[in-house]
């Protein structure tokens, strides 16, 4: 499949990650039957991460939505039998991607504030490891010494932090009622689709 370079990761962080909540909202609203929003989002990231170049993408938000749409459309093309409700959903989704993003600055508006709050909401050991590694710039070994734990444990805390931050940023939510909401989401299956008219 390829690799995700540092450059590509930074590009995704700047141009795609901020739009993931909007993409999810769009997909949820469309209620595409039989397709899981999480699956579509993951595959969308894969497609964009695997591109040879991204410098020619002028409107990342539009590109993101179009990519997601094409994944859904391809899914329906592969199906032999498509239910009427599914085609109606696809119709609804339509070929139109949202307009380019003049709201760019708005999306970045509270970026650092949200980041700060997201870090604040991590469990304290995770937060400490993450802060030492990422903000103070310590190595994994130095972090382990500082926290009097093993390097392996530092890595575990980092992994957990990344996972929690993936939840927070992707679902875009306010970090406010973060903890309780996340708990709920982890238990409830995310966004069960419903049959229109059913």
């Amino acid at each position: 499949m390829g690799w995700v370079s540092d450059d590509r990761a930074a590009w995704l962080a700047s141009h795609i990650l901020p739009h993931e909540p909007a993409l999810r909202a769009w997909l949820r609203h469309k209620r595409v039957v039989d397709l899981d929003v999480d699956d579509i989002v993951q595959e969308t990231y894969a497609r964009i991460a695997a591109l040879d170049i991204v410098s020619n993408i002028r409107e990342p938000k539009r590109y993101l939505f179009q990519t997601a749409y094409s994944i859904i459309a391809a899914h329906f093309r592969r199906l032999r039998v498509v239910s009427i409700s599914a085609t109606a959903d696809l119709d609804q989704l339509s070929l139109m991607a949202p307009e380019a993003s003049p709201e760019q600055e708005l999306i970045y508006r509270d970026e650092l504030r949200e980041l700060g709050a997201a870090l604040a909401s991590l469990p304290s050991a995770c937060r400490q490891a993450f802060t030492l590694r990422r903000i103070s710039g310590l190595s994994q070994r130095e972090t382990a010494q500082e926290m009097h734990i093993s390097e392996k444990t530092v890595e575990k805390y980092m992994a957990k932090s990344v996972h929690l931050l993936m939840e927070t940023f992707g679902r875009g939510g306010k970090v406010t009622s973060h903890a309780s909401r996340k708990q709920k989401e982890l238990i409830a299956p995310y966004d069960k689709t419903e049959e229109p008219g059913g």
């Binding site: 499949m1 390829g2 540092d6 962080a13 993951q42 969308t44 307009e99 003049p102 650092l112 940023f169």
Partner: protein, 329 residues
């Protein structure tokens, strides 16, 4: 291979991203990661996102070594403005301390709060506009709206045309559409508003419930409108509500996919509808012909195709000029 749940995929991707971040992988680890990435396209996608999240979190360096996550903890309601300011100042000083030049703070809060952004469509165009709060507006042909979000409400002014609003639920911040003095208020629902010249304002509710008010009409009590119903608000008469079927609602909203649906409308009225979507006019000179009825689904910005189809089915002629198509016997 067992298909993992998305969350489990995310978790494993986070583990791999942390491992990659901790130092160079051994050849064995690299092979194992490669195998995992190739097993399912979602693995690669989740790994890409995990790497992106780490890259994003690097911006926290702007907080500087004195970063204290606790100072972020209490922020709950966005309208706690004084606290917000101090927090912002804190973050700003952190950024300066870290010597990081950033444009993130170049957009002052006050400016954002009162900034109005407008969107419009040309004739024959539709446009999907995702808004900051997760709501989505679909603008129909020849329409214009202004978006003015504040911390108390999500304000939209429909200046002209037609729009469908898929509103993200937020009870604390109502979504209010103003159309020529009538206001439609929702908290989380899906409805369209139509504002055309010389026609009463129309509201069509697809899901949920909205409340319509027209303060300038004397004794105009607010009208509640639930799913699958339509309200017509003439300028000088009370608001009238009409139940419609679910099928009618979808039929009427077909414009979102560039289609128009007619069921027994007169040719005259169909021609008037097409005029909203194209600068090519449909001309029907014969008044008897104008009362013929049409049924079917047509491409909204193709009046010529429509005219030809009608001509074919009714045994008429459709002659195309520069800017008009004439239907005659």
């Amino acid at each position: 291979m067992t298909r993992l749940k998305s969350r489990e995929v995310d978790r494993q991707a986070a583990e791999w991203a942390a491992k990659v971040d901790s130092g160079p992988l051994s050849p064995d680890q690299q092979a194992s990661l490669d195998g995992w990435l190739e097993a399912d396209i979602r693995h690669f996608g989740a790994f890409a996102k995990a790497r992106a999240v780490l890259a994003f979190a690097d911006r926290a360096k702007a907080f500087g070594p004195s970063f204290d996550a606790a100072s972020f903890e209490p922020f709950v309601q966005p309208n706690a403005s004084t606290r917000w300011m101090s927090r912002r100042r804190f973050a700003l000083s952190g950024a300066i301390a870290a010597g990081v030049a950033t444009t993130i703070f170049a957009v002052p809060q006050a400016w954002r709060a009162f900034h109005v952004r407008s969107y419009e469509t040309r004739i024959g165009e539709t446009r999907i506009v995702p808004l900051d709060d997760g709501s989505i507006v679909t603008l129909n042909t020849d329409s214009r709206m202004e978006v003015k979000y504040t911390e108390e409400k999500r304000g939209i002014t429909l200046v002209k045309g037609e729009a469908l609003f898929d509103v993200a639920k937020n009870k604390l911040r109502p979504f209010i559409v103003d159309a020529a003095g009538a206001t439609v208020r929702a908290v989380g629902t899906s409805f369209s508003v139509t504002l055309l010249p010389n026609r009463p304002i129309q509201v069509l509710v697809r899901e949920g419930e909205v409340e319509i008010k027209r303060p300038e009409i004397l004794g105009g009590a607010p009208v509640r409108l639930s799913a699958n119903s339509r309200a017509v608000a003439p300028p000088d008469a009370p608001i009238e509500t009409i139940p419609v079927t679910r099928v009618e609602v979808s039929r009427e909203l077909l414009w979102r996919v560039g289609r128009l649906s007619f069921e027994g409308e007169t040719l005259e009225s169909a021609a008037a509808t097409f005029a909203r979507y194209s600068s090519i006019r449909i001309e029907i000179d014969d008044p008897v012909l104008a009362k013929e009825t049409v049924t079917g689904v047509f491409v909204s910005n193709d009046p010529i195709g429509f005219s030809k189809a009608v001509a074919l089915s009714l045994g008429l002629r459709a002659d195309v000029n520069d800017d008009a198509v004439k239907i005659s016997r």
